[in-house]
Amino acid sequence: MYKLMNMKKYKIKVLLVDDDVLLGNAITRELDERGYEITFLNSVYGVDEAIHRLSPDVLVLDVEIGKENGIALAYDLYAGNPSLPILFISSHHEEKLKEESLLFAGAVAYLDKPFSVNLLSAHIDRFAHKRIGISPANNKLLQKVGNGLLDLKNRALLTESGNIKELRPMEFNILKKLVAHFADFVSREDILYAAWEGQSDYYNDQSLNNYIRRLRILLEENTNLEIHTSRGMGYKLNERSN
């Protein structure tokens, strides 16, 4: 309990380094609203100093800042602060670059631009909690889903291998409903109700089918769960029997 209280009071400190001022400001604004203590630098100068002054829980670093190579910078920062988790953000989608950043710079994760607020905060939370020492079991905002975790705050699925998958609000609602009734059938009506949060005017069978299909693929690729369909009974979430 003490830990939970502590966690609520504790503001996660984030240092953001990105040369895209527009995006940086938007991120700062949104994360600030969500209760993070965020500092934004739009160049690499003073990063080291800022780390020592602020001692952030997570460093969010753009891979290509101006002409500087963020990876080389990260390597130095990592050498100086080996316990600081680094989250790379980049609009480069080259696999080689990703491997390089993860292997050589000790970065903890790599996030492709464009990303949503939720995906970013889900990443930050995960690594900040790990650093602060809050275990998933003590975290009320994480719910066990098979061998993965459902991040209730950031609408994301944390997989066993450490990947974070974003869920659309409807997908998230459906999954939450199915998890709440784990291994039980949930009627299609209940699912529709959950997905659209009771706004029955907007129910859409075709969309529901799409969301269920997406969830199926997501769960199949990332967890040991599967969604069972039964005519007349509805949907059921259970462990895959291999």
Partner: protein
């Protein structure tokens, strides 16, 4: 969208490839021609040098002969005043110096050791020369004019001459000199010959040193060689200049490529901002319909970013893209999207799409590549069709392969054209077709060891069949 994809892929990677290939080929052509020209010049030079050595030797021999003949003729003249009524006649002795460089020279006659009779005639000749020198009527001027006659006749112009008579003490007794006023302006060579005559108590040496103008033919040849050397150098320089231009063009292309990349890359930043902002808005929106609309907008932004990334990577080959971007997705989602796009492309047509496959059928492939293939096939199915096309898509999994069939009720393709259908730039429709689409589709499918084939009946329609390993 297809046009953009195909265009960018072909234009960029193709052009780059052509320039690189040209550069490589050009380099080898340049090296080969440089080598050939220098070999040619070298062989010409060697030939000219050999000819010159040979000629010098021949001329030397000629001069020696001329000298000896002149002495003999002078003796004959002195004895009978003419060759016809002289009591006997002395045959001139050919003395040819050996030349180690030209052992088997064809123009040279080796006399070998003089035979006994030759020896005797030589002794007689020497005695007669001695006699006439003693008598004082061995006129060097006469000898000089004789040498001049024979040497000008057989060789070229005499530029300077020096004919000398020495006694045994090496003291000059008599000499005849001549110097041409044009001596300086002529390319010439010094020829010398001497004859020594010895009796018991006396000995004399007759020495001739003649400077004779060189003939011009070999010089001309040399000049020609020099000219061709210069020409070759000029050609090689031009080739190098072209190589330099090609190199510059190459780096210009690279620069263009880079700035193109930069410009395209810059498009991504605002999109990242828009996507992030929409996601934040969506989070705060409570009306589910508005949320869905915002999500759709975010999807479109993400789609655009994906498109930009594909453009940036379009120079790469399909095999790599298959390896890297293969993911699992529902065929239905893509088919549905492409169908909507095609309908929008042909607003005047009333297209009826039939999807005869399980909506849950998933495929392992790079979605954008498969999308491109489907777009090409759907577009053809609708384009070469009446105003009411019916396009049927069937798909099924057979073990580890996925089979996709796309059938239309269009104009069909004649049998003789079916074979050429997948060739690049082959088209039956020169007005609207580029002949790239099907080739492009085939390249994509082949890159993953898949197959694409076609069946067609004229006036009934065609069926394209894709067989793809689903791994």
């Amino acid at each position: 969208m297809l046009v953009e994809y195909v265009f960018i892929h072909y234009f960029r990677s193709y052009n780059k490839q052509i320039v690189i290939n040209m550069k490589r080929h050009y380099k080898s052509i340049l090296l080969a021609s440089t080598f050939a020209l220098s070999a040619l010049l070298l062989s010409q030079g060697i030939w000219i040098r050999n000819s010159m050595v040979q000629r010098d030797y021949n001329r030397d021999a000629d001069f020696q002969n001329c000298f000896n003949h002149s002495i003999t003729n002078l003796i004959n003249e002195l004895m009978g005043k003419s060759e016809d009524n002289s009591p006997f006649k002395i045959e001139p002795l050919d003395s040819v110096p050996g030349n180690p460089e030209l052992e088997n020279a064809p123009n040279v006659i080796h006399m070998g050791k003089p035979t006994a009779s030759e020896n005797a005639s030589r002794l007689i000749e020497a005695a007669l020369i001695l006699l006439h020198i003693e008598q004082g009527d061995f006129r060097l001027t006469r000898l000089d004019s004789m040498i001049n006659i024979c040497s000008v006749g057989r060789i070229d112009k005499v530029i300077s001459s020096n004919l000398m008579l020495f006694n045994s003490d090496n003291r000059m007794l008599d000499s005849v000199r001549y110097e041409s006023p044009y001596a300086k302006y002529q390319l010439s060579k010094l020829y010398s010959a001497e004859r020594s005559v010895t009796s018991l108590d006396k000995s004399y040496i007759i020495r001739a040193e003649y400077r004779i103008a060189e003939s011009n033919d070999l010089q001309n040849m040399g000049v020609a060689t020099m000219v061709s050397l210069l020409a070759s150098i000029a050609i090689i320089l031009v080739l190098f200049y072209l190589l330099y231009i090609l190199k510059r063009r190459h780096s210009q292309m690279q620069y263009m490529e880079r700035s193109f990349h930069g410009a395209i890359h810059d498009l991504k930043s605002p999109l990242a901002y828009v996507y992030f902002s929409i996601s934040a808005l969506e989070e705060e929106e409570l009306d589910m319909r508005k949320r869905e609309a915002l999500l759709l907008t975010a999807d479109k932004v993400s789609f655009l970013t994906g498109k930009i990334n594909r453009i940036l990577q379009s120079g790469r080959n399909f095999k790599e893209i298959w390896k890297e971007r293969k993911t699992k997705f529902f065929l239905f989602d893509i088919v549905e999207q492409v169908e909507a796009e095609i309908q929008a492309m042909f607003p005047e047509k009333e297209i009826h799409f039939q999807n005869d496959f399980d909506a849950e059928l998933s495929i392992m492939a790079p979605p954008d590549l498969l999308e491109a293939v489907l777009r090409i096939l759907f577009e053809n199915a609708v384009k070469y069709n009446s105003t009411q096309p019916v396009v049927t898509t069937r798909s099924r999994r057979e073990g580890d392969t996925i089979i996709i069939e796309i059938e239309d009720n269009g104009y069909g393709i004649r049998n003789d054209k079916l074979r050429k259908l997948f060739r690049p730039y082959y088209t039956t429709d020169n007005k609207n077709g580029t002949g790239i689409g099907l080739y492009y589709a085939k390249s994509i499918i082949n890159a993953h060891s898949g197959k694409i084939s076609v069946k067609s009946v004229v006036e009934k329609g065609s069926t394209f069949i894709i067989t793809l390993p689903n791994v």
